[in-house]
Amino acid sequence: MTTAIVGVGLHPFGRFDGVSGPAMATVAVDNALRDADLRWPDMEFAMGGSLEGAKGTCASPDSLVGDLGLTGLPFINVVNGCATAGSALSMACNAIDAGQYEVGIVIGYDKHPRGAFDPDPAVLGLEPWYGDSGMMLTTQFFAMKTARYMHEYGISRRSLAAVAAKNLRNGAKNPAAWRKDQLTEEQILAAPMLNDPLTKYMICSPGEGAAAVVVCSAEKARQLSTHPIWIEGLTIRTRRFGSFEVLSPSLPVTQADSPTVDAARSCFEVAGVAPHDVHVVQLQDTDAGSEIMHMAECGFCEHGEQEKLLAEGATEISGSLPVNTDGGLMANGEPIGASGLRQVYELVLQLRGTGGARQVAGDPRVGFAQVYGAPGLSACTILIR
């Protein structure tokens, strides 16, 4: 790939009563443009993702031009479940790689209602009885996949708590994070159970936030920036027959690898690097179990090895494999349209060495990000300085 990132911007994640999703997106865009030392009229195209915007519960991404400036640029709305941001970024890279544009912006935002996601069964191709029966909850899947994984690979409840404690600890070092209160493993284990084995603090919450990334061609990047970050791999995969996926009324006994395994493997191939080359990692921690499973699914360890790695503190900011340095979804919540771009934002800061209190030591050069979600898809991104 030949696409560079020359600007990143964020609106903090959390709950912001009275601030609309598009208003948050405008802040993220302004910050990204300032970071790139560019202006909105410089943007040749935009890709924007928002699940609520697509549902009509808030303004859709292309309406942002009303606030950012009516320059006539092509603005494409992108919706692709939990890989919305990854898909928008992927399409932007493709457009630049194809020579269609030199510079553009990818925008993601969301402002979800409070409480668990409650998708309409029909929208996901499911029949009404599935929702009537009380099974239309993504958290049930994450808990059941985690429970099975713990059974097969000997992962303890203590390790689930260790992941949640670490991500909240990292979030406390991130001014833009939603949750900045640290909790001990004991507090996390003693919290109300939501879906066994996941307690209240082991599951992320839908939330609000926005992120924006200015992308450009290699030639443009050399003109614009002394410190571009290169998008060396960006792959998206959906579920194959036999993978254990969210909101599945049945599963075949014959098991297949998850879409994360497929997306990560392909992403490493495209980028020409291996998991052991990666210095900083952002993984989809919808829940503590997901982060643990995604460590292995992305190729960073063997299945079951996480128990030892977590006990050693390997995934801490100071560890050999720092994971979710900005607090991940657990500390930031999940505004779906923005979530994947938040990971990219964090990787860019880390690779530039501007991560502040949460900066990974040792001059990190290779970053990896992964999102996963309904209806069984994954997007992986590799960034290299």
């Binding site: 409480g115 009885w129 029966s133 099974m135 429970a147 059974h151 009324p249 599963l251 075949p252």
Partner: protein, 144 residues
């Protein structure tokens, strides 16, 4: 309180009798894959040659969880003021398919992966006059 009406939400995917319900699945004539609920196209080999079959009533628990906060209603038929915690799991029926369903048990602490389970119909009171009926599984040792 007398429940005057029963709404059977899973009629389209169940058969058999109230005491011995069975689940309907599709079986692919080309590769043998069984899928619940029935699908016109086999998700494994994409063949359109599938037929509806019934699944075994008994199996073993493959994984499970609890639901300890009230799901939003809709889509859940039971409103939050009638909510009580329940279990959900995947039960392996025969040697080809694992089906997700409500787990009806008197003792959650007794559940474990590998426990023998049996298909049953479960009743969910949604208000004073209406009960929703759906399928679920209960430990064989608890079934009458």
């Amino acid at each position: 309180m007398l429940n005057e009406t029963e709404r059977h939400v899973a009629d389209a995917v169940t058969a058999g009798t109230p005491d011995a319900p069975v689940l309907l699945a599709s079986r692919c004539s080309a590769c043998g894959t069984e899928t619940f609920p029935p699908k016109a196209t086999c998700p494994n080999c994409c063949s359109k040659d599938t037929q509806v079959v019934t699944l075994p009533r008994q199996g073993v628990l493959w994984t499970y969880t609890t639901q300890e906060f009230p799901p939003k209603s809709p889509p859940y038929s039971v409103p939050p003021d009638r909510f009580s915690a329940f279990c959900v799991g995947y039960v392996q029926l025969g040697d080809s398919v694992r089906v997700e369903g409500r787990i009806h048990t008197n003792d959650v602490t007794h559940l474990r992966i590998g426990l023998p389970m049996e298909l049953t119909l479960i009743r969910l009171p949604v208000n004073d006059t209406e009960t929703v009926v759906t399928f679920g599984f209960t430990p064989v040792e608890e079934s009458a």
